[in-house]
Amino acid sequence: MASAVSAVFILDLKGKVLISRNYRGDIPMNAVEKFLPLVLEAEEDSQAPAPVFTDNGVNYLYIRHNNLFLLAITRKNSNATTVMLFLHTVVNVLTEYFKELEEESIRDNFVIIYELLDEMMDFGYPQTTESKILQEYITQDAYKLEVQVRPPMAVTNAVSWRSEGIRYRKNEVFLDVVESVNLLVNANGNVLRSEILGAIKMKVFLSGMPELRLGLNDKVMFESTGRSPTKGKSIEMEDVKFHQCVRLSKFENDRTISFIPPDGEFDLMTYRLNTQVKPLIWVEALVENYTGSRIEYLIRAKAQFKRRSTANNVEIHIPVPEDADSPKFRSGIGSVQYVPEKSCVIWKIKQFQGGKEFSMRAHFGLPSVKSLDDADKRQPMSIKFEIPYFTTSGIQVRYLKIQERSGYAALPWVRYITQNGDYQMRMPDSIKNSKMAPI
C-alpha cells in the first residue's frame, strides 16, 4: 500500500508538459501523452471526468489550477488523498514563491521548481513541504550563493515548522477568529443547510522558541474539568482540526491547545458547527416574467443580527436571464450594477446595520423571441458580507499564554469577524403575468 508517486507533471491546458520530475522511473514518461486525450474522451462519454482514473496499468491523478494541470502518475495502489493533497501543496508552495503560479512563472523559474520538486518529494514520497522552511534553504536569489546554505534544523526537528534563532524587537501575536457561514436555502425559503466553518488565524512575531497555550470557551473542556465559564456561554465545536504544531494527544486528553507556533502567518485551527441560528442576511426575491417583453425583480434584504453589529461590504448577486437588456434599478440603499458577462445584478451595500430591511427593484427588457430552455434561471443568488466584532458561534478567546525561556512579555491581539462562506439562496420560480406595477 505504498503511496509512492512515479512522476509529477505540470501541463498547460493543451496537455503540453511545462515541467516534470520523474521520481521512480517505473513508468515511461510518455504515458503523459495519453493524459489529455483520456480526459477529453471521458468528458465526451460522461461529462463528468473524475480527477482520478486508470489506463493501461497507469493511474492518473490530477488537479487544475489557473490554466494548468498538475498531474501525478503512479502504477501502485497509491494513497489518493495524499497525492491530491500533495499536488495542492505544490501549488501553494509555488504560489508563495512566485506570487502567481502560471505558465509564465514556471518558465521563468524552472531551476528553482526543479529544486523544490526534488526537496518536496523523494522516491515518490512527500518530504518537507512547509514553505517557510523551504524558503530558508532554497532561495530565489540564485546569484548570491557565495555563502553555503545548510539544511535548517527544522527540516528534521520534532518542530519541523519553526527555525531557531528568530528575533523580534517587539514581540506580538495577532489572532483572527474568522467564521464563514455556509448556507443553502431552497426556493421556498427553507434552510437546507447551515453551517459555520471557523478558523483561528494567527500572525506570530515572537522571538525564540515560544510555548503557547490558547484557552477558548470550549464546552467540552468546561465539562471535563467541572468548571463553569466565568462569563458568557460556552460553545460546542463539532469537528476541530489543528495545524500540525498543536499537540493533538494533549488536546485529546485535557482539551488544552498547546503549541510552538511557526513564524508569521498560519491557520492554527479550524472548526465546524452546525447551527440552527437565523441566517444572518436573508434575501427574498419576487420575480415576474412577462415572457417576450420584460422581467421584473423585487428583492428584499434583511439583516437578522443584533442592532449593534453592522455588516460591511454586503454584495447580493442576483442572476438574471442571459438575454436581458436595458436594465433599470431603484433601491433604497447602496448601488446596483448590471454585470452582463456574468448574467447577474450586483446590489452593493457598504454598511448594513443589524435589524434593518431594504428593498430593491430591477427591471429588464427581454427579447420577444425566447429560446425554450430557460436553464439560466437555476443559478442561485449568492451573498457576500463581513460582520466585524461578531461571531455567530459565540466563540471567545479566553487567554493566550506565551512563555519563552528569555522571559519576554508579548502582547496578544484578538479580532473577531464573521463573513459569508458558500452562502447561496435559490431563486424562486418566476410568476408569469401578474400585476406588479412596472417601475
Binding site: 482520478v52 493533497l85 489543528f242
Partner: protein
C-alpha cells in the same frame, strides 16, 4: 571572477542553429558564470524535451563545484540522461562519493539521494559504501534521505540490499531518535515488504508498533501518514489491544491534513473487526462522522476521493452519518464529478424520515443545466421509490411533475424510471399510463421508447387503444434500435396473448417483418422462438411470455463482503476510489526501466478494462448469467447504465470472459464446439448458420473488442447473445456508477476462466428446455 553582466536570462528562447555546439563551447568555458549559464540552458532544453544527451561528458565535468545550484542542476541532468549514457556515468561516481563525505549535510544528502535515482547498474557497485556511511550519519537530514535510498536500491537489486545489511540498518532506524528518520525508515520498509518474496522485511509486531505510535506525535503530516499506513498492518492480539490502538490513533482525526484523517479512519475500521464491545464500536462510529463531514470542505479533488471513501464506509457501517444527509446536498458550483458522488451517497442515506427533503432536492436538481446530472437525479427518484415503499407515491408524483415540464430528456428519463417502478409495484400506478402515452411523440431515445412499449405490452389489457399504439410504433419498426425492436416484438406478443381477437393481424405482421426483414440476429431469433411457441403451444407461450417476473430491488450495497474487507483495508488509496481491488487495475508486469514501448499484450489488457464492468466474482457472474439467460425471453432487457443507450453496454458483463481470455485460448477448444450444438438443437439451425449469426452478434456488441477474437469463440458468443441482454436486468437499478467506467476504471480481480461460459451456457439452455 569575471565580471559577467547577464541580461535577464531567456533560457528557453534560442533560434540559432547548432545550439548544441554553442552550448558545448560554453560548458567548457573558463568562466564560471558562463558555464553555469550554459548548464541552465541545457536544463531548459531538457525541460522542453530537446535531446541534450550528447553533452553528457561536458555537463558532468561541471559537477565538481562548490556552487550548490550548479551542482543540483548537474545532478538533475545526470538523473535524466544517465540511462542513455550508462558507460559515461562512471565519470560522475568519483564526485558523488566525494560529495557524500562533504562537510555540508545538505550536499551529503543530495549526493546520496541523487545516486539512488540513477538507475544504472554501474552506479550500484559504488553506491553501497557511501550509503552505509550515510545511514549512520550524525545529521538526521542525511539519515532520513539515506533511509529512502535503501528502498531505491531494493527496487533495483534486493539481493544486494540484504547482503549489505541495509535491511537490518533500516530496521534499526525505526528506533531512531528523530521522527522524520523513523517515518522514512517505515516508508522504505513498508515498500520493500510489499515486494519482498519472504515477507520478513518488515513485520509489525508489538514493539515496532509501540515505536511507531510514539513517533506519531512528532512527525510531519506525511510522516504520520506513513506510520498510520504501516500500523494498519498490525494484527491485534485481542479486543482490548485493538481498543487501545484506536484510542491512540483517535487524536489524528483532528489533524488538518485530510489524508492523516482518512488513514486514521482506516485503522479504526480495521481494528473494529477485532473489537467485541458493541458499545465501543458505536462510540468509534460516532467519533468518525464529524471528521468525514469536514473532509467535504476540502478542495474538490480531495472531496471526490473522500466521497468515494464515504460511499464505501457507508456500505460497511450503514449507521454512520445517518443524520447528515443535508451535508451532501449539492451546491450549484460543485464540479460534476462531486455532484454525482454526492447523489450516490444521498441515495444510500435515504430513509423514510428524510425522503421528503431528498425528493424536493432531487426535483430541484432535475431542473439544472447539466444533462448528465439531471438524468441521474431523475433516476435517483426512481431508486427512492423502489427502496421505500411508503414514499413510492410521492416519488411518482414528482416524476409526473417532471414529465409535465416537457423538457425532452427529463421526460425520457422519467419514463424509463417509471417502467422500473411499475415492475416493482405491479398494478399500483396504472392510472398514470394515459399521461405517459401523451408523451409518446417526444420519445426518441431507445431506452425511453422501449420502456413505454414495455409498459403498453404489460398493461395491454387495461389500455383500450393498445393495439393502435403498437401499430403506431410498427411504422418505424425497421428503423428502430435493436432494444426497441425486441421490446416491440415482445409487447406485440403479449398484446396478442391478452387480446387475441384484436391483434392477430399485427402479431403476424411483426413476426413476419422481424424474421424476414431484420438483420439483427437477436431480434430475428427471438421472433422465431415466439413464432414457434405460438404456433405449437399457445399455453406454453403464455407461461413463458406472461410469467411472473422476478422482483427488482435497489442494491445500495453493491460490494460483496470479501471485496468490502479488502477495500476497507485500502481506505484512502486508489482502490477505494475505484471500488476495485488493487489487482484489478494494477499492471502486473513491471515496466523494466528500459522498456519504454508498451507491449501488445498491454493493449489486450486495456480492452479488458473497458469491457468488464459490474461482475464481481466468477461465481456471481455465472449465477447472474444463468438466471438471466431466461430473462431475455421474459423481455427484461433493459440496460442498467443510464448512459447505455445501445445494447452494447448491457452486453459487457457477460462478454467479459470472452474478451479477456480470448488471447490465451487455443483456436478451438472443447468448449467452443459444444455450444453451437446446443443452440442448433434448440433452434433447428444448421451449425454453420448459427455460428455465423452468433459471430456477427458478438462483433457488433462486444464494445471495443477486436473481431478476430470471436471466430475462435463462437460458443461463448452464442451464449452471450442469449444471456447477454438479461445480464443486467437483475441489477437494473443497481447501476455501476463509476463515472470513469468507460475509461476502464473497472475490472474485477478474477476473470472466469474461458471454459466456464460453455458450462454456463448449457445450464442456461437446460433452463430453457425445462420450460418447454
Amino acid at each position: 571572477m569575471a565580471d559577467f553582466k547577464l541580461p535577464k536570462p531567456k533560457f528557453f528562447v534560442t533560434n540559432k542553429k547548432g545550439e548544441n555546439a554553442e552550448l558545448l563551447a560554453d560548458l567548457n568555458s573558463e568562466y564560471r558564470e558562463r558555464r553555469k549559464d550554459a548548464v541552465k540552458r541545457v536544463i531548459a532544453n531538457m525541460t522542453v524535451g530537446k535531446d541534450v544527451s550528447s553533452l553528457f561528458p561536458q555537463v558532468v565535468k561541471n559537477m565538481q563545484t562548490e556552487d550548490l545550484e550548479m551542482k543540483k542542476l548537474v545532478y538533475l541532468y545526470l538523473m535524466n540522461y544517465a540511462k542513455s549514457n550508462p558507460d559515461l556515468v562512471i565519470l560522475a561516481v568519483n564526485t558523488f562519493v566525494k560529495d557524500t563525505d562533504h562537510v555540508n549535510p545538505l550536499i551529503r544528502a543530495l549526493a546520496i539521494r541523487t545516486m539512488g535515482c540513477i538507475r544504472v547498474d554501474k552506479i550500484l557497485d559504488h553506491l553501497c559504501e557511501p550509503l552505509r556511511k550515510c545511514l549512520g550519519d550524525d545529521n538526521p537530514y542525511v539519515r532520513k534521505t539515506a533511509a529512502l535510498c535503501v528502498a531505491k536500491l531494493w527496487d533495483l537489486d534486493p539481493e544486494r540490499a540484504i547482503e549489505n545489511g541495509f535491511v537490518t540498518s533500516l530496521q534499526e532506524l525505526v528506533s531512531d531518535t528523530n521522527p522524520m528518520v523513523v517515518a522514512n525508515a517505515v516508508t522504505a520498509l513498508a515498500e520493500m515488504q510489499e515486494s519482498s518474496e519472504t515477507k520478513d522485511v518488515f513485520v509489525v509486531n508489538v514493539s515496532v508498533m509501540n515505536k511507531m505510535l510514539n513517533a506519531l506525535n512528532e512527525c510531519t503530516e506525511w510522516g504520520q501518514i506513513a506510520i498510520l499506513t504501516s500500523l494498519a498492518e498490525y494484527k491485534p492480539l485481542d479486543s482490548k489491544e485493538a481498543e487501545t490502538i484506536c484510542e491512540r490513533v483517535m487524536p489524528r482525526l483532528a489533524h488538518a491534513n485530510g489524508s492523516v484523517v482518512l488513514s486514521a479512519v482506516r485503522i479504526i475500521l480495521i481494528m473494529m473487526r477485532y473489537i467485541r464491545s458493541d458499545e465501543f464500536n458505536k462510540q468509534l462510529v460516532k467519533k468518525m462522522s464529524p471528521p468525514l463531514v469536514t473532509l467535504l470542505a476540502s478542495a474538490p479533488e480531495v472531496q471526490y476521493v473522500a466521497l468515494r471513501n464515504i460511499n464505501l464506509i457507508l456500505q460497511k457501517r450503514p449507521d454512520i452519518l445517518q443524520n447528515d444527509i443535508r451535508v451532501f446536498f449539492c451546491k450549484y458550483n460543485d464540479p460534476p464529478y462531486v455532484k454525482l458522488e454526492k447523489l450516490e451517497i444521498m441515495i444510500k442515506l435515504c430513509n423514510d424520515r428524510n425522503i421528503d427533503q431528498l425528493l424536493s432536492e432531487l426535483k430541484e436538481y432535475a431542473s439544472e443545466v447539466d444533462v448528465d446530472f439531471v438524468r441521474r437525479s431523475v433516476r435517483a427518484i426512481g431508486r427512492c421509490a423502489i427502496m421505500i415503499d411508503d414514499a413510492s407515491e410521492r416519488c411518482v408524483n414528482v416524476l409526473l411533475d417532471l414529465i409535465n415540464t416537457k423538457v425532452n430528456y427529463v421526460v425520457q428519463e422519467a419514463i424509463s424510471v417509471i417502467k422500473d417502478i411499475f415492475r416493482k409495484y405491479p398494478k399500483r400506478y396504472e392510472a398514470i399510463i394515459p399521461t405517459l402515452c401523451q408523451n409518446l411523440d417526444s420519445l426518441d431515445e431507445p431506452e425511453a421508447r422501449g420502456s413505454l412499449i414495455w409498459i403498453i405490452g404489460e398493461y395491454a389489457e387495461r389500455i383500450d387503444n393498445a393495439d393502435e399504439l403498437i401499430e403506431n410504433f410498427m411504422e418505424t419498426f425497421l428503423e428502430e434500435n435493436a432494444q426497441v425492436q425486441l421490446q416491440l416484438l415482445t409487447a406485440t406478443v403479449k398484446l396478442f396473448l391478452k387480446k387475441p381477437s384484436q391483434s392477430q393481424e399485427i402479431v403476424h405482421r411483426v413476426l413476419q417483418t422481424a424474421t424476414q426483414d431484420i438483420d439483427n440476429p437477436d431480434t430475428r431469433d427471438r421472433a422465431y422462438v415466439y413464432w414457434r411457441l405460438l404456433s405449437t403451444d399457445p399455453q406454453a407461450a403464455k407461461a413463458v411470455v406472461l410469467s411472473e417476473k422476478p422482483p427488482i430491488s435497489v442494491e445500495t450495497r453493491t460490494i460483496s463482503p470479501g471485496l468490502m474487507d479488502e477495500l476497507i483495508t485500502n481506505i484512502s488509496t486508489l482502490a477505494s476510489v475505484y471500488h476495485k481491488p488493487p489487482s484489478a487495475f494494477l499492471g502486473n508486469k513491471a515496466y523494466s526501466p528500459d522498456a519504454i514501448q508498451k507491449a501488445a499484450a498491454a493493449d489486450a489488457q486495456d480492452e479488458e478494462l473497458h469491457a468488464v464492468d459490474g461482475a464481481e466474482s466468477p461465481a456471481a457472474a455465472k449465477e447472474a448469467a444463468v438466471k438471466n439467460a431466461m430473462a431475455d425471453l421474459l423481455d427484461l432487457d433493459f440496460g442498467s447504465e443510464p448512459t447505455s443507450a445501445t445494447s452494447g453496454g448491457s452486453f459487457a458483463p457477460v462478454m467479459s470472459p470472452i474478451t479477456s481470455s480470448a488471447p490465451a485460448l487455443p483456436p478451438t477448444s472443447t468448449g467452443s464446439s459444444t455450444g453451437p450444438n446446443y443452440s442448433s438443437d434448440l433452434f433447428d439451425f444448421s451449425s454453420d448458420t448459427s455460428s455465423s449469426i452468433f459471430g456477427s452478434t458478438g462483433a457488433s456488441s462486444g464494445a471495443g473488442s477486436s473481431s478476430n477474437n470471436f471466430n475462435s469463440n463462437n460458443s461463448n458468443n452464442s451464449f452471450g447473445s442469449l444471456g447477454g441482454f438479461g445480464g443486467s436486468s437483475g441489477g437494473m437499478m443497481a447501476s455501476n456508477n463509476d463515472p470513469f467506467a468507460g475509461l476502464g476504471g473497472s475490472a474485477p480481480a478474477q476473470q472466469p476462466p474461458a471454459q466456464k461460459p460453455a458450462g454456463q451456457q448449457s445450464g442456461a439452455m437446460n433452463d430453457l428446455l425445462d420450460l418447454f
